[in-house]
Each structure stands twice: as C-alpha cells, then as structure tokens.
C-alpha cells in the first residue's frame, strides 16, 4: 500500500491536530483515532516487530492519557508522543537485549530485471535493518522514514549531531557491505 510521505513526518511537518491542542476531554480520543495508525506504523518500522510496535504505542499513550491536556498544550503533541515512543523503544531494547544482534541472513537476490526485484531488494533492506543495533536503527528510521534532519534527530535522541552522522554512517556502511556480498543492486 503506498503511503503518503507526510504521515510519519517530522514534528514540524506533521499535520496539526487542532482539537488535540485544546485539551478538551475528547481530544485524546480524537488524537488516537486520527494519528493512531501513523504512530503504529512508526513504532512498527522502528521496532521491526508488530507486537512490540503495538505495545510501544499503547504504553506511551496510556502513560500520557491522564496528562493529555498538558501534552496537547505543547507546540507539537505528536512530536512529543513520537519522541516518547523512540525513548521507550531504546529503553525496552536496552532491558531486553544487552548486546548487538547478529545481522540477519540476507536471501539471495533475484536478477535486477525480474519484476519482483524491487520487492526482493526492499525485503533485504528490512532484514538488514533487523540486525542493526537499536540506536543505529532508530537513526535510520528517523532520517529515512520520518525525513528528519540530523539536528532534529540529535535533539530527539538527546545526543550530538556528530553522533547521529556517525551512527548513520556506520549503519549504512554495514548494509552496503552486506548487500555487496549478496550482489544486490539498487533500483534507483
């Protein structure tokens, strides 16, 4: 299913949820109903696991539920929620996995001219993402899924821009090596 680019978007680019900012009792429900799927998609892409993604979103929203008027009064409530999801993800991953996981096995690619080639290559990318350390994965998701600039990623992850750049660089280099070893080619 093609996805509109603005859905996962950066805080400043996310659609403003006007009612969410009023702090009215119904604004939380409306926020969840209108932005819930975007948050679920973001959490799924971030975590790579549908159950963990659902759990992340439910956990963060449940903890904000009773404080929603305060959250809704912020400049960008959705950005705040998304930041909380990222931090929750990093925190959970820290608790559940002390070390870096092994890069996932990448299936042999099909020939570039085959119709399913693009699908196969994108599937390879997804598998490689699953093998990245959580912080590198988060940087790539924020950069390539949310289209966030490095300074906003740095602010969201509470680290320096140089850290963001180095994390992205290492992750991409690792993926290039793995893809080169398997002979995958891009579609662009």
């Amino acid at each position: 299913m093609p996805l509109p680019r603005q859905i996962p978007g950066a805080p400043a680019r996310a659609p403003v949820i006007s009612d969410a900012r009023t702090g009215s009792p119904d604004s939380f429900d409306e926020f969840v109903q209108t932005r819930g799927w975007a948050l679920l998609r973001f959490a799924y892409v971030l975590s790579g696991d549908s159950y963990l993604g659902e759990d992340l979103v439910q956990e963060v929203l449940a903890r904000m539920h009773r404080r929603w008027p305060k959250v809704a009064a912020m400049d960008s409530p959705e950005a705040y929620v998304r930041t909380a999801i990222v931090r929750q993800f990093l925190s959970w991953r820290r608790r559940r996995s002390a070390g870096e996981s092994i890069l996932a096995e990448v299936p042999e690619p099909s020939a570039a001219d085959e119709p399913q080639h693009h699908v196969v290559v994108r599937d390879q990318m997804w598998r490689l993402l699953a093998g990245l350390p959580r912080s590198q994965r988060a940087v790539l998701v924020l950069r390539f899924y949310c289209d966030l600039p490095d300074d906003e990623i740095a602010a969201l992850l509470n680290c320096g821009e140089s850290t963001v750049r180095s994390q992205a660089s290492r992750a991409l280099a690792k993926m290039r090596i793995m893809l080169a070893g398997k002979g995958a080619r891009g579609d662009g």
């Binding site: 299913m1 996805l3 859905i7 679920l40 009773r66 579609d187 662009g188």
Partner: protein, 316 residues
C-alpha cells in the same frame, strides 16, 4: 540521496504498510490507562517510600530500624482480637467539581489521600500525605518558604515535563503534612488548597475484611494488596505481621487446608509463613509473622481463615 538511501526509504515505507491495524487501539490504550490508574496510588506510594528512604542518611535509617533481637529475648506472643478497625485520614479538601473524592491508603505508617482530577484543564491530581517525621526528598528542587495555615512551610518545585511537580510541606499538630500536585495550579493556588484542608475522618479501605487482627498491634500498611501490622511501640515501617495478596504462585507441598483452600505453613529462624492458594481469586495469600513475634499454628490458620478478600483488592 544515493541508491542505498532510496532503497532504505522505500523499504521502510513498504514495511509501514504491514504495521498492525489501529482498530481497537483506543480501547486498548484506555484499558491500559485505567489499569495504571488503579495501581497508581500504590505505585506512587512505593516510589515515595523509596525516595524517602534514599533521602534519609543511612544512620537515621538504621536508627529507625527496630533493634535486632538478642538471642535470649522473649518473643512477643501474638494474640488474636476480634475484628479490625482501620485508621482514618484526618483531613479532606472541600468537594470540588472536577475532582473525585479521595482514595486513602496507609503505607509504612504514612497516611495518604489521593484526590484524582477528572477535569484536567482546571485541576490536577493532588496527594496529601501525613507523616510522623519530617519528609525527606531525593530529587533536587527549587524550594521557597511560604506561609500556610498560619505556619511556616516550604514549597518545592521540580521542573520536569510535561508538568512541573509542586510539593508543599509544613508541620502541624505534631505531624508533617505534604500536599503534592503539578503546575496546573500556581504556587498561590497550591497554598490556597492547603489552606482549604479541613478536619475529617476518612477510614482507609482495607483490601480484606478481617475476622481477627493481631491484638496490641497497629496497622502499618494498607494498600490494594497488603495489610501489615507493627507492635504498638515500634517505629513506622517496621511491620512484623504481614498479609499480602499476590498473583498466583505455584504451591508445592501443601500440608493443610485453610477455608477449603490448599495451604502450606513453613517455619524457619526468620519467620513463619502461611501460603494459601486462593484459586477462586486466582491469587496466593501470604501471611508472614516475623521472628520478633511468635504465633501458634492454630492461631495462624485461624487468622488466615478469617481473611475475606474484597473486590477492591488487587494482587501484586
């Protein structure tokens, strides 16, 4: 953006289409939020107790602990008295539209009343705590002196998102009172709320109805899962007789039945414990009597048989 970047972006957006459906999300979030709300009072109190313990110099903590029993000490014998009279919280806030009636608990000897805000635009959750000792805080905060109820008080502000936490504390009638809320209220409004406290007697609702209670002991903790008692002269937080409802635990080696439920009684140098498999509540009831006390098997079983679990209980 090179090929790899484009492939990656495409892969992520493709994957997003496989995300879980949002159907049922709102209900799931509300259920989880409600669950957290039910447990919040107990959790907050636990955290408060932990922070307070951290904030107190170790020497004071040690000084407050009951002295270890000499080897030759005579253990106090637990006698059972009929019934149980829960303690009462001595203050209340005036009824206000947008605020619920207080939920009152007792934790380590501290009485706590939590007033939940239903209108979160104009009100915020407010917790009033009555302690015998001066409160200790483990978090750095800006602190300013204020006049409250004609007495000297201190207003602490911890600057956290999404709302700064405000805690006003003062001494009154030989006890310390804390009123904690957030910056929904201005500092002047926080003081005004404290000024509005009036005398009351709000009984702490216990999680169990007790046919018997340990005679000569006072309640130390009453929470949705726990009722504990300490000897009348012992410092708060030194419970020696504890009844806890826990999530179900495998009960091996049952050696008796208590009110028709499998149970196991164990004794060691430190304590005597009776675990009862309360299958109809899908829980395990644990009664522990510390080494400083002595109780017969018959009295312990009699006490356990007189513990009636109430709907308001919540196993830990």
């Amino acid at each position: 953006m090179d090929d790899l970047d484009r492939m990656l972006a495409g892969s992520l957006h493709d994957a997003a289409g496989r995300a879980p459906s949002p159907e049922g999300l709102l209900n799931a979030v509300r259920r989880r939020s409600d669950r957290y709300r039910r447990r919040r009072v107990a959790a907050q109190l636990s955290a408060l107790a932990a922070v307070a313990a951290l904030g107190i110099p170790a020497g004071i903590v040690l000084a407050n602990r009951p002295a270890p029993l000499p080897a030759t000490a005579t253990r106090e014998v637990v006698r059972l008295a009929a019934g149980f009279q829960p303690p009462a919280f001595p203050y209340t806030l005036p009824p206000t539209v947008g605020m619920k009636a207080p939920i009152v608990t007792l934790r380590d000897g501290d009485l706590v009343a939590s007033f939940e805000a239903t209108d979160q635009r104009d009100h915020a959750d407010t917790t009033v705590t009555v302690t015998s000792g001066k409160p200790a805080f483990g978090t750095a905060a800006a602190e300013t002196p204020v006049q409250v109820r004609g007495r000297n008080g201190r207003l602490r502000t911890v600057d956290v998102r999404p709302a700064a936490q405000l805690t006003l504390y003062w001494q009154e009638s030989g006890r310390w009172i804390q009123l904690a809320t957030d910056d929904t209220y201005t500092p002047q409004e926080v003081v005004a709320r404290a000024d509005a406290l009036s005398s009351a007697s709000i009984a702490v609702p216990p999680p169990f109805r007790l046919d018997y209670s340990p005679a000569g002991m006072v309640a130390d903790t009453i929470s949705p899962s726990t009722m504990s008692f300490r000897p009348a002269g012992a410092p708060p937080g030194s419970a020696a007789f504890t009844v806890v409802l826990r999530k179900p635990r495998p009960l091996t080696g049952a050696d008796r039945t208590v009110a028709g439920h499998d149970a196991r009684l164990t004794r060691d140098a430190g304590a005597v414990r009776l675990a009862v498999d309360v299958t109809d509540w899908e829980a395990t009831l644990e009664i522990t009597v510390g080494a400083e006390l002595t109780i017969s098997d018959d009295d312990l079983v009699r006490f356990a048989a007189g513990v009636h679990i109430l709907n308001r209980s919540d196993p830990e």
